[in-house]
Amino acid sequence: MSGRGDKGFDPARRRLLTEGLRSAAGVALVATVLGAWQRQARALPATALRPPGALDEEAFQGACIRCGLCVRDCPYDTLKLAKFGDPVALGTPWFEARKVPCEMCEDIPCVTACPTGALDHSLADITQARMGLALITDQEACIAFQGLRCEVCYNVCPVRGKAITLELQHNRRSGKHARFIPVVHSSDCTGCGKCEEACILEEAAIKVLPIRLVKGMLGRHYRLGWKEKEKAGGALVTPDAPHQYNLPEGMRYDYEGEGLIREQPADSPFSDNPLDTLNRKGGL
């Protein structure tokens, strides 16, 4: 169409352009809504856990094709696919520890079944899975903290004696008993959820939560002196030299011995009693 105005008007071209613009506008609207929805879909509820070996949530939602083969191969019906309306991204596998926890099959059938590697096939040892991290969320409710014997979470833990240990503490209420306090260790906890399922309370006092919600992290620059010393095999700062105290002349400190020692020379102008010096006429 080289001409302008009425001469250059081509109805077919005009129709095509209008239609293209309408389609583009409609699809752009759909894309915007879907994009916003996608951001929300990333926010997994704290009680929703992914199967063992799941990539981190962002990568997982790009890799999982929602086929449910992991669900089918889970022998304990732990896993389920998110339905439309569930608070988890539609069609993706998840489980809730309090309802049905992961039984930590040694052959990890769910991972083997995954055709895309959204469940990472490099996970060969189920004890290396990190589905979440257990946490005593309520010390006020946990009866072990009241000095009562329970230890159910400790006993059902599949990584028994490693992921949860019991620490003996003095029971200050009775004054003569011990408290058996369960302590979770992130080095071994797989987040299977057996402890949360088994917790005897009406509402579990130990819960498996996403690791990102539970774990704290020291500043990267931060170093713990005693650990660095252990690593290096000796002190890194002021290598084990005898400590020098900044004391007035004629004094020294005998560490783990006599303590402060005054070595006053015979011709000192000062009296033994400091008050004499202070009360001297003419001041210092």
């Binding site: 239609e19 309408r22 389609s23 583009a24 409609g26 699809v27 759909v30 894309a31 879907l34 994009g35 929805w37 996608q38 951001r39 879909a41 990333r42 990539l55 962002e58 990568a59 939602q61 790009g62 890799a63 999982c64 094709i65 929602r66 086929c67 449910g68 083969l69 669900v71 089918r72 191969d73 389920k80 696919l81 339905k83 439309f84 309306g85 569930d86 991204a89 539609l90 069609g91 079944a113 995954c114 055709p115 895309t116 590697g117 959204a118 096939h121």
Partner: protein
């Protein structure tokens, strides 16, 4: 076909109900049988097929993966396991043989919903509605493939009614019924064949495959056509018929070569003149019309 009449009346009168619906019945049977194969696992514990249309494993040996989903995964920046590629390749080869959109008309469960809406539309004599462009689906397909590159996730799968319905039937519907109902009402009240014929990006993708697929419907006997328009009335993609049926003068072969043809065979069913039949794409010679067939239209009832 007269105004207000359901298409296919002539053929039903001449050949009987069964013959007038054989491809439709075969299609419904296939759709339900495939669905049942997926369902007997969770229902009775007979694990013939595990998974769903997104990816499945048949008899623990045959992997099948939706190639469109695989593309989306790749677009998100993730490299899937080899078995997913193998599964997608098998699916690609299969649909290149039987026709890309055979997925739509013989497998996809949404087809039963939209066909039901179309049937009701005809029965109630509902006309008109919003005008949508049939090209919208290409935009949708572009959106589906680009979203993973932007969001890093399979964003279309948050809403895809096709996988949602199939997965829902097998793994639990949740509120997906509302979406299925929405598709039904869209097709019934807002625009004719709106979902499968204008919007669905999954159908668009298989339509791309259909451009090169082998099995075809052909208007082999086009000279016998008496312009009753029944085939146009039942065809879900009626723009694909005319070039083959009426294109003899332009040198167009009788084979319907448009990728968007779903190979549903409904045109074969409703044609009282046996114009159409299934053949392969290379069976596409422009035959000189015989004297007898050109005049057949004049003696039709």
């Amino acid at each position: 076909m007269k105004a207000g009449e359901m298409p296919g009346l002539t053929v039903r009168r001449e050949k009987g109900w069964l013959a007038a619906n054989r491809w439709l019945l075969a299609r419904r049977f296939t759709q339900l049988a495939i669905l049942l194969l997926f369902l007997v696992g969770p229902w009775f514990g007979w694990w013939i097929v595990k998974g769903n249309l997104s990816s499945s494993l048949t008899l623990d040996v045959l992997p099948l993966t939706d190639p469109l989903l695989l593309l989306q995964v790749l677009m998100s920046g993730h490299l899937p396991e080899t078995i997913a590629f193998a599964g997608a390749l098998i699916v690609l080869v299969f649909y290149l043989l039987v026709g890309g959109r055979v997925y739509c008309s013989w497998v996809c469960p949404v087809n039963m919903v939209t066909d039901a809406a179309e049937w009701l539309r005809m029965r109630l004599g509902l006309k008109g509605g919003a005008s949508l462009s049939r090209r919208l689906r290409w935009w949708m397909l572009g959106l589906v493939l680009l979203m993973p590159a932007v969001t890093g996730a399979l964003t279309w799968e948050l809403i895809n009614p096709v996988s949602m319905m199939h997965r829902g039937l097998i793994f639990g519907m949740g509120l997906a019924w509302a979406v299925v109902l929405g598709i039904f009402l869209l097709d019934l009240l807002i625009a004719r064949r709106a979902w499968c014929g204008h919007l669905c990006p999954v159908g668009a993708f298989y339509g791309l495959l259909g451009r090169w697929s082998l099995l075809r419907v052909s208007a082999v006997n086009r000279a016998a056509c008496d312009d009753c328009m029944d085939c146009f009335a039942v065809c879900p993609e009626k723009q694909v018929i005319a070039p083959a049926l009426k294109g003899e003068a332009k040198g167009h072969g009788p084979v319907i070569d448009a990728g968007l043809c779903t190979n549903c065979g409904r045109c074969i069913d409703v044609c009282a003149r046996d114009v159409f039949r299934f053949t392969q794409r290379f069976d596409n010679h422009v035959r000189p019309a015989t004297a007898g067939s050109t005049h057949q239209s004049e003696v039709s009832p």
